[in-house]
Symmetry: C2
Subunit: 504 residues, 2 copies
Amino acid sequence: MLPKPGEPLCIKVHADDNVAIVANAGGLPKGTVFACGLELQEHVPQGHKVALTDLQQGEAIIRYGEVIGYAVRPIGRGSWIEESLVRMPVSPALDQLPVATGVPAPLPPLEGYTFEGYRNPDGSVAVRNILGISTSVQCVAGVLDVAVRRIKAELLPKYPNVADVVALNHTYGCGVALDAPEAVIPIRTVQNLAVHPNLGGEVMVVGLGCEKLLPTRVSSTADVVSLQEKPGFGAMIEAIMAMAEERLVRLNGRQRVTCPLSDLVIGLQCGGSDAFSGVSANPAVGYAADLLVRAGATVLFSEVTEVRDAIHLLTPRAVNEEVGRALIREMKWYDEYLARGQVDRSANTTPGNKKGGLANIVEKSLGSTVKSGSSPIMGVLAPGERATQKGLLFAATPASDFVCGTLQLAAGMHLQVFTTGRGTPYGLAMAPVIKVSSRDSLKEQWEDLIDLNAGGIVTGEATIEAVGWELFRLIIDVASGRKTWAEQWGLHNALTLFNPAPVT
Amino acid sequence: MLPKPGEPLCIKVHADDNVAIVANAGGLPKGTVFACGLELQEHVPQGHKVALTDLQQGEAIIRYGEVIGYAVRPIGRGSWIEESLVRMPVSPALDQLPVATGVPAPLPPLEGYTFEGYRNPDGSVAVRNILGISTSVQCVAGVLDVAVRRIKAELLPKYPNVADVVALNHTYGCGVALDAPEAVIPIRTVQNLAVHPNLGGEVMVVGLGCEKLLPTRVSSTADVVSLQEKPGFGAMIEAIMAMAEERLVRLNGRQRVTCPLSDLVIGLQCGGSDAFSGVSANPAVGYAADLLVRAGATVLFSEVTEVRDAIHLLTPRAVNEEVGRALIREMKWYDEYLARGQVDRSANTTPGNKKGGLANIVEKSLGSTVKSGSSPIMGVLAPGERATQKGLLFAATPASDFVCGTLQLAAGMHLQVFTTGRGTPYGLAMAPVIKVSSRDSLKEQWEDLIDLNAGGIVTGEATIEAVGWELFRLIIDVASGRKTWAEQWGLHNALTLFNPAPVT
């Protein structure tokens, strides 16, 4: 690799591939000749595929060593394989998957790495010292927002060791079918968010008084401010502020202490992906994921619709039959959920994905699951469940950035690594988010939003290993208190619950 | 009526009723004897039903002149009809309803009432002068929130005629099945919110650049800030602020002018209902609704699950066969939607409703639909559609306060009247909300949240007519600029889209 600037470059990921993607910003014109002798028959945009051989009509198009589609007409060597030329394959059948047939050997332990975190009363750790105020129902959000503004202005300055005060507002709790079978998902999500480790175990709940989701169901032990019991608005604000201040005093007394990496739960996600995501950012994240697993941490990968078409590559990595079956169970549930809405997994890809060179959800999935690295899959969490195991876990979530982020928070995620190709200014209030770009031009454009650039892998100026180690060290720094760009600017996307049950 | 303080009082709504509800705060003890001679056989809580006659097992329990259930065992005269003694009837069958068979004669026009509003370029009016910033996708919310905080702090003080700057954040736009049949609902909601009349036609959209819901689909004519085109966070904030300021200048130049009431669209909703809601607050609202219709305004009533069991009383009022069929279509859609989630309309009632004396959704619905008054139903809006007619319209929405509020805003509602028995501190950012209490004790407790108390109707100290007129005049005052309590405190519940289609 290591091409000179401007030298034409195309990237082939796997020895079996019959396509490569054009790496150069702006794409490359007709007539471009690569070092390998390949000549472009037409302009090919950046991130888009070029045929490395003549393809017959119906012939398999191979990337990542996997079939990403079939040619709808003959495609000559050097031609642009535009999205409309790719017929999408069917998803792998769920009843014929190999399960736990290729469990990777455990990677050698990685010792000697620690971070500075806050130790919580229950033994878990926090990477940020945040006061979270839980809610049982959306009715209280208006009052709570006013109270939080006042807490930040009047109380927080007195407690400088506390990083932030966050209202855990959501749209659930009443006007919903609480007894529907699938209501278990939003309910356990709200319950698990309340005890998120970055909130230090200082749970408090603001409730209304007549809602379906009782505050005691959000937390059976927490103190509750019940608005209907208060004589008016002023008294509501006073009660919330008083209960908050008790907790601020305790949180403020905490100091960071040295903790093993095995205390960490790291979530992985991608958003605004392009064809480089699977070449640069996601493989580097996969490398870092393996390092984290070797150091004893818990690593979550997610996004069912971006896993579905690569599931045949994942079920063999399930550590045992039970975990493999659980993976299949989550795929099956989602297939049925989408079918109820009269769509399928092809509803996932966005105009931006396609503009970025991803022909379909199969190609996107193959690039997305690379984030999971190469270790055995130790467990599966249904949406909203909390992680209790170490190692690599599949946390089943929709791929929607905000729903996935919220469900990974419910799983106990301390910190999220978020890869992006097209670019998104994503951030969460309850956990730091490290944003990793898939290409140099995004980092150059968004210098003050992208925390780490994996684009050097595309041009050959960096290796997957080097960027993987860089990310691993950045995770340790951020867990120890270093601020991400999203934290610096205060970019907080709202919690977004996954409620597949009806609203009433 | 007009009992002395402390004198026992029970309220029978309709001549055919065989139950009444206890009016006195705290309920009444066993042995209480009413003026009519009825003696309580046990303690009956406030708002709960007492049997006026001996009821046989299986006998119909009648309130509002309608069957609200059947006695599960014999119930003696003077006994408390606790919720568990009431077997719920089935909903009225949708294929046997009388349609347009009892269209009320048009009420006499009411002339001589006007309000002071802002005239919009398209001829519609605004009751508040608000800058709204629309969004195509949740990805931009973090950045937009920062921008709006800066606009409020740095720009808004320079434009004192502008009341507020509101980010129209939502959880739609990407990570959703945009081509699912039911995606039409959230899409048209986002489109109609952008052109809400209280935003003065000054539409602008903040988009990301790779999302599924293109900013041009939110508004085909509006200016767009596309974050992916900007060189970093600072430039994003700058671009949003500059585009906002152009609009602030124009909005600031507007003055209130005298407008006819026929320019107004008023939404009706209830939340946290009790057994008094259908006796005091909702009938007063129904009276005011009739006054508004007589003055030529548009009035929206909503909440499908609170209409479903009273639908046989509404379809006769449909102005014609087509409107009647549309009412039935919306009921049928919702029946099927709930069935898909394995629930039915009984998922609606809350613990607070029941504590407040409402046995089931049938009793709740009969009290809820009273808000619609007595005029002909002139039209039906599917969820998220915008009102284009005058008179009383049924805007089909879930009963969830926030989803209903958002959909009524999409319908073009200038101002909402919200009745409550248990009490909720509800508020919207894009339209003032007048909160009406169903009982004196709530107004006494929440002096600084309830705008109008209808409790006097319960005790006989006020009449439905008098409170209805008071509400009508308050609507005119608030439309002309008088602040509601929720506005005074800045209580803003978030927009909550109704998306029955899958997330991906």
